[in-house]
């Protein structure tokens, strides 16, 4: 469907370095990465807003690298939604169809159908600046879907929304994806969104797509140190953490997931430095012989072992991974 081959682009602050990527038809692909990783730039290159310095972009088998945005059939929803402020909601959704000189009645039926599906029928005569963030996002998605794009690009679609609006929208996007069967690339730094929506995820760090796979594959088995760091795992150089007593076997880095650091009745001595409670668990920072180790404990464990800042506990490392 979409294929990027060795795509590079240097904008100074942001860059893409030899990006290879394949997104399949009908797939909901989530591209994860920290701020400044080049995620937005990647979307702009796919949309044709930015031209790559090197590399090729193929869409449905055709080389579209040199094609301007208006002839690509790629719809783009930027982070701030970019609704046209001088047009009302109806005219915003109709924009792409009017440009294509589609018959007036057909435009009307498409706009009303989409507005109905996306739950914004009651807003059609409003101006964008009178809408809430969630409503604006719905209008922006409707405007993009109206032109039946080959790919829908969503840049941080939930970053400006409050939690409840976000959860509702995630649910709706899942439904629309089933209903309209569009192909999407969704860019975000949030794991939750990836878990809720993605068929596959890619992790992007420093302008490179480091790893692509199912959510489970990537989260359970980060292939590189950069991916592991981005996921919030413990990453150490093996030589620096010999005192943990793990078997490194010529590897250079060791990756330990926080949930694999278990508090138990035996093992390494650790001091609790920091406790951050969440709903059903707590993020801990432990000090093991001068090594700062992130751990994820259940509330049960916290109570059972009396975990407080300053308390002494014993920990075992259940699983770890050595990367050379």
């Amino acid at each position: 469907m979409l294929r990027l081959e060795g795509v590079s682009k240097d904008l100074g602050d942001f860059a893409l370095k030899e990006v290879n990527l394949r997104v399949n038809r009908g797939e909901y692909f989530v591209l994860l990465g920290p701020s400044g990783a080049g995620k937005t730039l990647l979307l702009e290159v796919v949309a044709g807003i930015q031209k790559p310095d090197r590399g090729r972009i193929y869409l449905e088998g055709e080389d579209v690298t040199e094609r301007p945005p208006e002839r690509r059939g790629v719809a783009y929803v930027p982070q701030n939604y970019a609704l046209f402020p001088h047009l009302n909601v109806y005219e915003n959704i109709a924009y792409g169809l009017r440009i294509r000189k589609v018959d007036r009645r057909e435009i009307d039926s498409v706009v009303r159908f989409l507005a109905d599906s996306l739950g914004i029928s009651h807003l059609l005569h409003r101006k964008p600046n009178t809408l809430s963030g969630g409503e604006q996002q719905r209008v922006a998605i409707a405007r993009a879907l109206a032109v039946k794009p080959k790919i829908l690009l969503l840049d941080e679609p939930f970053s400006n929304l409050d939690l409840n609006t976000k959860l509702k929208l995630i649910e709706d996007i899942r439904r629309w994806h089933d209903e309209f069967e569009f192909t999407a690339i969704h860019v975000t730094h949030s794991f939750d969104e990836a878990v809720s929506l993605a068929n596959r995820v890619g992790v992007m760090v420093n302008g490179r797509v480091e790893q692509v796979g199912s959510v489970f594959e990537v989260f359970s088995n980060p292939k590189s140190v950069e991916v592991a760091r981005f996921l919030g795992y413990n990453v150490f150089r093996c030589v620096e953490v010999e005192s943990l007593g793990l078997n490194y076997d010529r590897g250079e880095y060791v990756v330990i997931r926080p949930e694999d650091v278990l508090i138990s009745d035996g093992g390494l001595d650790a001091t609790v430095e920091y406790v951050d409670f969440m709903k059903f668990s707590a993020n801990l920072t432990l000090n093991v012989d001068g090594i700062r180790l992130k751990a994820l404990a259940t509330i049960n464990d916290v109570l059972r072992w009396n975990v407080r800042v300053g308390s002494k506990v014993k920990v075992r490392i259940k699983r770890y991974r050595v990367i050379s």
Binding site: P69, E70, V77, F84, Y95, I99, R100
Partner: protein, 250 residues
């Protein structure tokens, strides 16, 4: 506690406000004691012709500055290029050159081709007033989020269509206020017109001529007419602009 600093600033600023408003008021009030001359002037064919010339040439000047200046403003807002600051400097130069010098420069360049003609008046006006349209257009386009243009293009609009349907309508208020300034500046231009085109007679030149030949009493009525017309058109255009802006945000 009263904010004495603010009160002090208001007092200082008021002097300037009064200084601007007082002469305008005095001119009109004084004329009220001499209605006969005003009526006589309003019936004077020469005066009416001069007024017509002034507003006609200023109108044409504004249209030309819009046609040529808006595209330039767009390029300045959207493109980075070498010598951009030089280009920007050239645009602002007419504001700092004494206007009689502008007239001399234009005559040196175009000589008799523009001497004492409508063309000469328009060229003199355009030189001193085009900067306002260019700069306001540029500021208007700068205020349009680039993402809007990007999205319009992904939705199928080419460059020109994007410009006509997104960038231009959104910067129209800014462009319009630039055009108003250009028009106002053109109407008030004297120095360069005096050098380039004393004829066909424009109202602002006529004020000067009547003052020199007949004195204050006879030049004042034309001044009153000129200022009333200028201020009225200025106010109407400003009001239209505000009306358009208010409608947009409903």
């Amino acid at each position: 506690m009263r904010d004495y600093v603010e009160i002090f600033f208001v007092i200082l600023g008021s002097f300037l406000l009064i200084y601007i408003a007082l002469p305008i008021a005095m001119l009109i009030v004084d004329q009220c004691f001499d209605i006969e001359t005003l009526i006589a002037i309003l019936k004077d064919e020469v005066v009416l012709n001069a007024l017509k010339n002034t507003f006609l040439t200023a109108g044409i000047t504004t249209l030309i500055s819009l046609t040529l200046g808006v595209p330039l403003g767009y390029v300045l807002a959207r493109r980075e290029f070498r010598y951009k600051s030089l280009v920007q400097g050239i645009i602002d130069v007419p504001i700092v050159i004494p206007h009689s010098v502008v007239g001399i420069m234009l005559l040196t360049t175009f000589s008799n081709a523009i001497l004492d003609s409508y063309l000469g008046i328009v060229m003199a006006m355009l030189f001193v007033s085009a900067s306002f349209t260019i700069n306001s257009a540029r500021d208007g386009f700068l205020a349009v989020d680039r993402k809007l243009e990007d999205v319009a293009r992904t939705l199928g609009a080419g460059r020109l269509k994007t410009f006509l349907t997104i960038s231009l309508p959104l910067s129209l208020p800014s462009i319009a206020s630039g055009a108003i300034m250009t028009f106002a500046r053109a109407v008030s231009e004297v120095g360069s017109i005096l050098v380039v085109a004393y004829y066909p007679k424009t109202a602002q030149i006529l004020v000067l001529e009547y003052f020199e030949n007949f004195g204050l009493r006879y030049s004042r009525p034309i001044s009153v007419v000129l200022i009333v017309l200028s201020l009225t058109s200025f106010a109407v255009l400003r009001w239209l602009l505000r009306y358009a802006k208010a409608r947009r945000s409903v």
